[in-house]
Symmetry: C6
Subunit: 83 residues, 6 copies
């Protein structure tokens, strides 16, 4: 995503929205550490550390909140229990 | 959930919404560490570490916020104290 | 709460809402570590560690946001300063 | 606050709202560690540790979001730049 | 800010709103550690520790969410892309 | 950004909004550690530490929530699935 511009937050499905949240989390890392070489060096460490993986998942969760709100939660119709 | 596409955020009950939040938290880990073998190796460690368990619970809490909002908090009717 | 299904997020009072937030935080732990035996073993450790207690309190705070929003903050009437 | 029931989230001022947020953060700790004796033992440790203090401040911040929203941010009037 | 009462969350600009968020983060620390002497002792430690600085920045970010919402994001006018 | 005043939260694109979120995260650090010399000394450490990078990404994510909400998620038009 390094060279990608972030165009918009709308996606067709929650699945694509989740992928966008992952990209946003990565983008937050890339801006602080632009060297792909160093990021690749770090990967074997954090990807085998449970606490690091949980922390990554948390950043994704925060971005997914944003993306889901932007897409109005991909609601197709008013649910039955709507008031 | 690895092969599951995330279809929508609407669920019938808060219980199902909580389960979805758990799956979203797992999905955030799986994307960073796709190897199920390595994830299974890590499990005995973090599942017996109180701080890791609390951290997992936090990620679930963030996703549950999103899922609950998407479902308009599963409100069946306007509560009495509604203004 | 292990056997309890989460029925709804509406509660009569903020106090009950806080209790629900605590249960949701516990539920997030139970799903990752279903063994009550192991959870009981961990308890003396994290319940005497200030940082663990603060972390638990944070998860409760996140769930309380959700429960409070679901209950429209238990507002009985429009406050005076409402615009 | 141990014996206090949480009655409502409305307060007269942001200052009182902040105090309520602090109480909610403490309440989250008290539920996990009900012994005031143990909590008093822990206090000298975390109250002199910068990272613990920052963590406490974060829990307060999350609860203050909830309390501020419940009070509609204590807005007395529509600000000039309102749209 | 120790002696300041928190009067309101409205500010003229985002810059002032950010300053308020910083004060709220400090206030959360001061309530747990009221001694300015001890806080001054801790300062050289956390202000030279990257992880502590990032954690402080996170607390500020959470309060800035609250202050920004309270000020309706300091919007002067409806943006072009408003729907 | 040290000398920049934060003028407004509106940006033309999500990309610019993300850049603003990064600046806000940095600003939160600069206020606690105003010395650029010390910040530059810390940089090689945290920029090569996976957990620090993830923590920075989390602060950016929180600010991006604020900026995205301020910009009404840069929606150009009501999406098809709008209710």
């Amino acid at each position: 995503m390094s060279n990608d511009q972030l165009q918009m937050l709308l996606t067709q499905t929650p699945e694509e929205g989740f992928e966008l949240a992952v990209k946003l989390a990565q983008k937050g890392v890339e801006i602080t550490q632009p060297s792909e070489e160093i990021r690749q060096m770090l990967r074997p460490v954090y990807s085998r550390n449970a606490d690091s993986l949980i922390a990554v998942s948390q950043v994704v969760a925060i971005h997914f909140q944003t993306v889901a709100a932007a897409n109005n939660y991909w609601r197709m119709q008013t649910p039955q229990y709507w008031y």
